[in-house]
Symmetry: C2
Subunit: 201 residues, 2 copies
């Protein structure tokens, strides 16, 4: 089996959420797996000078319309902008980082549950207690999940993941590498699809 | 015939160039015309705080790769990043504004010739003399074209076009309105295509 796709996303990113609904199926069509990497857009924004999309004059209003329209275009039901947006996403990022090293088979289902909690159920997953609730609903021991988010070693591992992302040139969410080729944005999924067929174009 | 699409673009915008290769055919498939509106990204950037894409850390390197890859993906041959980039695009913007009011049938062919001169032939169309050469090659009287770019009334008309664009919420290039619905980016052309079929989704 060829190398997995590297899928970078921020839990506070609407386009990341939409991409998360499609990335596994896209990769599977080409016999590929996906390595899910939570990251922190805020850290990337310090380098690029960007700010949260919805806070940019002119672009902010447009982006909110585009999130909804793009979800509808792709038939992704249930999406709605959360009451609190954006959120710091350290807690869910740490939780998934912890799972990747302890119970890797649970990492993606829990990541999807966290994204769903935020962008469909409007739950503030930036709160470690809420993130732990979501993990428990997904079948994890709640106390262990809650403790992981305060664990210095987990925090450190997530920090290194974010640093690695930046070192690879990740500046937005979603961001996907296919055999080293970088693709930024859910709207590059069609290029990814062709790249997976042709090995480049 | 239904209302034309409003197509906003900056002559210095690579994605605007790529969009310009497709917008007329896209609209025509749905029985629509296109109203071409040159604008100035620099003026919009003052409001959004954005800077030229290629100058942004991390994003800049990616964007140059993406311009080329997106051209190849869409089978748009000949595209190459100009030696000088970005450029101030007042001269070609004024030229097209002048044509729209004096010889509207020549405006789009000349706009396409200007874009081709910059993104295929690597000619610096920010220079009024070069823009006038391109207009002359496209069949316009060179002296009149050259004079138009220095005409205060033409400058004023272009300034008003740019102000109107901003007032409508245009913050990037390309930017298209379909019956009032805003679409930013060449990568929204598929949504535009469906919107033109369904009248909304």
């Amino acid at each position: 089996m060829a190398a997995p796709l590297d899928f970078y996303f921020d839990f506070s990113s609407p386009y990341g959420y939409l991409a998360a609904q499609r990335i596994d199926a896209l990769a599977a069509r080409h016999g590929r797996a996906v390595d899910w990497h939570p990251m922190l857009l805020g850290v990337a924004f310090k380098q690029t000078g960007a700010m949260p999309l919805t806070e940019v004059p002119l672009k902010g209003e447009y982006s909110k319309r585009d999130f909804d329209r793009t979800a509808r275009y792709h038939g992704i039901g249930g999406f709605r902008m959360p009451s609190r947006f954006p959120i710091p996403s350290q807690a869910p990022g740490r939780l998934v980082t912890w799972l990747k090293s302890t119970e890797p088979a649970r990492a993606v289902p829990v990541a999807k549950a966290l994204y769903h909690a935020y962008f469909v159920s409007d739950r503030d997953i930036s709160a470690p207690d809420v993130a732990a609730d979501v993990a428990a609903e997904a079948g994890l021991p709640r106390a262990a999940a809650r403790a992981a988010m305060d664990d210095a070693a987990v925090k450190d591992a997530f920090r290194r993941e974010v640093e690695t992302a930046l070192a690879r040139g990740v500046f937005g969410s979603p961001f996907v590498f296919v055999d080293g080729e970088p693709f930024w944005g859910f709207d590059r999924f069609e290029q990814i699809d062709r790249w997976l067929v042709t090995g480049g174009f």
